[in-house]
Symmetry: C2
Subunit: 455 residues, 2 copies
């Protein structure tokens, strides 16, 4: 660029989730250079992640390369990497490999990760569900549990293998409990000669007295009934005392019970990713970035924070907006607009969330919807399907997802029952995971032996 020309202003977007992607798209036509950084090469449609975890959808059906979505926008650069901190004074963000990226505005949209509330040691045995790796891991654990149960001769072992515990009665927990129960009791059993539907036990553990607490009570109760119809045991007023390999300890009314369970899924909570803290801005009690009415971090007008990583408290209210996709998307569009206003030296507006309602699915033909109307059962499920397919980015994925759903519905089959990461061989023959790679300079050699046997 000619030095005499005024430098074009730069927007750095951290995270290619719902908020970041919407912000980048909304900056189309605005006179800025946009750089979007994500640790993953793909945008993930998280609301359907549980369907990958329960073998209904392939990972590719709910993920699109960020580059494929934004790479051809003339003012957008896509960087695969992780922002680990920033010098807010000098307006430079730092990638893990040490590279610095200058910005005039930064949009922090890096989301949340699974939280074990201080018990990180549970992570090894209670599987969170936040990215494709998590989902593929759960899928493998569930499918392997069935394989092992089919061959188990000892009744206690068999019972442990066929007991699945889901912690947390929010949307993720409800979806997972319903989907695992469906998978186990309706889909898989036909393929296993020694497993009966009644052998499969799915527990949903919730500390409160009902599932889906953001919903009205009648819908919570309907969701609970729908879960019971699917064979899910509900444990309300129950908390987790410990999780270890093959077992989880539950506490209810001061009484501790140990449940032998091969697979434990953790949907009990999330926390902001570590970057939120690393930025040195004001955080709320739950570690989220506190923001003003324009979604900017307190005292940092050029640092926006949107989506799950931010705590936006609407005027006159005490609770921050929930960590759902519509909030992130509306905020993404909003902050792009504020940047355009800043450029034209117009005052910023105040963000207002338009709540179009909430929905959660429980299983085939089972869901709850709370918006302008309240729906339950088949109608709610159809509404849920419609909205989710509509929002899935890109025609191709939309089409394949619809086809898979239709197919599962008609045949009760699951199309994505793959175990790919599993190695049934001596430990020394295990290939190492891909080595972490910094993007520049080229990383140290990563061993990836390619010999493989197929028996």
């Amino acid at each position: 660029m000619d030095a005499s020309e005024p430098r074009r202003r730069r927007v750095l977007i951290v995270g290619g989730g719902f908020g970041g992607l919407k912000a980048a798209k909304s900056l189309r036509g605005v006179d800025v250079d946009v750089t979007i950084v994500d640790r993953e090469n793909h945008h993930l449609f998280q609301p359907l992640l549980y369907q990958v975890a329960t073998a209904s959808l392939s990972p590719g059906s709910i993920a699109v390369p960020i580059r494929g979505v934004l790479g051809r926008e003339p003012n957008v650069s896509v960087v695969l990497g992780e922002i680990v901190g920033a010098d807010l004074e000098r307006r430079r963000a730092k990638l893990r490999d040490g590279t610095e990226l200058e910005y005039d505005w930064m949009i922090v949209a890096c989301g949340a990760r699974t939280s074990y509330f201080g018990h990180d040691e549970w992570a090894a045995h209670a599987h969170g569900l936040k990215d494709l790796r998590d989902a593929i891991r759960i899928r493998e654990r569930v499918l392997l549990a069935f394989e092992e149960a089919e061959r188990a001769t000892d009744e206690a072992t068999r019972r442990r293998l066929l007991t699945f515990v889901v912690v947390g009665g929010g949307p993720t927990g409800v979806e997972m409990a319903g989907a695992i129960s469906e998978l186990g009791r309706q889909v898989l059993v036909g393929d296993y000669k020694r497993i009966a539907p009644s052998d499969v036990r799915v527990l949903l553990v919730e500390r409160a007295d009902r599932v889906l607490t953001p919903f009205d009570r009648d819908l919570s109760y309907s969701a609970a009934d729908q879960l019971r119809e699917l064979g899910v045991e509900l444990r309300f007023g129950t908390s987790v005392a410990s999780v270890r390999e093959g077992a989880i300890e539950l506490v209810h009314d001061g009484v501790t019970e140990t449940i032998a369970a091969e697979v434990v899924v953790w949907g009990a909570g999330v926390e902001p990713v570590p970057l939120a803290k690393a930025l040195g801005v004001a955080l709320d009690r739950r570690g989220r970035i506190r923001v003003d009415g324009s979604c900017a971090a307190l005292g940092q007008a050029e640092v926006f924070a949107i989506g799950d990583v931010a705590a936006f408290v609407p005027e006159g209210e005490t609770e921050a907006l929930p960590g759902v996709a519509p909030v992130a998307m509306q905020q993404g569009r909003f902050v792009a607009e504020q940047i355009a206003r800043d450029l034209r030296r117009l005052p910023r507006k105040t963000f207002r969330y338009v709540d179009k309602g909430i929905m959660a699915t429980i299983g085939r033909s089972r869901a709850v919807v709370q918006g302008g109307v309240k729906l339950t059962g088949l109608l709610a499920w159809l509404a849920w399907c419609f909205i989710h397919v509509l929002y899935l980015i890109g025609f191709r994925n939309r089409f394949i997802v619809m086809f898979n759903w239709f197919w599962s519905y008609v045949t009760f089959k699951r199309g994505a029952r793959l175990i790919t990461a599993r190695y049934d061989r001596a430990p020394d023959a295990l290939p190492p995971p891909l080595a972490p790679r910094s993007s520049l300079p080229p990383p140290a050699p990563a061993a990836s032996p390619s010999t493989s046997t197929n028996s």
Copy 2:
């Protein structure tokens, strides 16, 4: 079973590939109990594996759970495990976990694995392509190379990152070279602002003087021309002296040349899986099980060996049948028939391979077919598509594969551009690979931390 009843006879099938699956299906209605054992839970449509490696297809599109195919057959049991040896005298095969499986007939159909011809140390840097893990690994390496090249500032680094070397001019090598070149030069470049099609260099290395040696010379030459049209550099009469991280050493006419290349794909050869040797039966020079006219191991009438693990030399010929799917499938059907004949005390027949021709694809609208007729280019490609879709097991996969192909053809996009195993974080945060699991008793704890950040 009542002790007075005669025991039902048992068939053990080792391997759920083309041969094993066909054998199991062909034993439907035969008065035997069939057990099929495979290390993987899925049957893999290997001819399309290169399309997973080059981001055209999702893993789920070319794999079906073996249980889904055979689980409902009344006389078939499916076991996820690995047969590591057998006592042929006592007719017992041994699983890795020590469990023994008795049999009256064993069908060894466990296939081949990548061979580095004694240079196993190359495996870490030259990626074979035999299972889904291999394919996903190659896909990630290729996509990451592009990501890193986009940000590379040093020209030598950039050149290394965008140089892809494929070793072996057989069908796998030709398909991979063509597909990587298409992916790099036609599909990806549009998404990368700093990479031009001409920056992407794909070399195909072959020791012989042409590609696809099983084909007639005119078709080989056509294939070579079609590869060159896609921008692939062909290196004939060239062998590999060494492979190390980021570089491969080639030898041609005694002259050694070192090529800096980030990704090396190894399609140069296969060898039988170790079980072939462990059985203690007669092997041929290449380690394959030598079989008689009835596909039984020499001197072991009740041990059949079919597909890539066997060397079936037709009467009057000197070369064994090639390691292709049609041979395995025809042999699978044949040995099932011989077992039925054994039951009725009829003499066994001699296997005759019906060669319906061979085909290889080079890229979009590019292929060669040699059968009753010879075809090249678009017509050959359409024939290739037709046959492969036809053989893909299960309507669902067939439909999705067709749709993906059509979509890629129309839009030049690739639908499966996912990097899932990659971790852009500190090594200590890397989740360990899934621990190897024996099926019984329950295995030692396997750590799988589920915390994950998404930036």
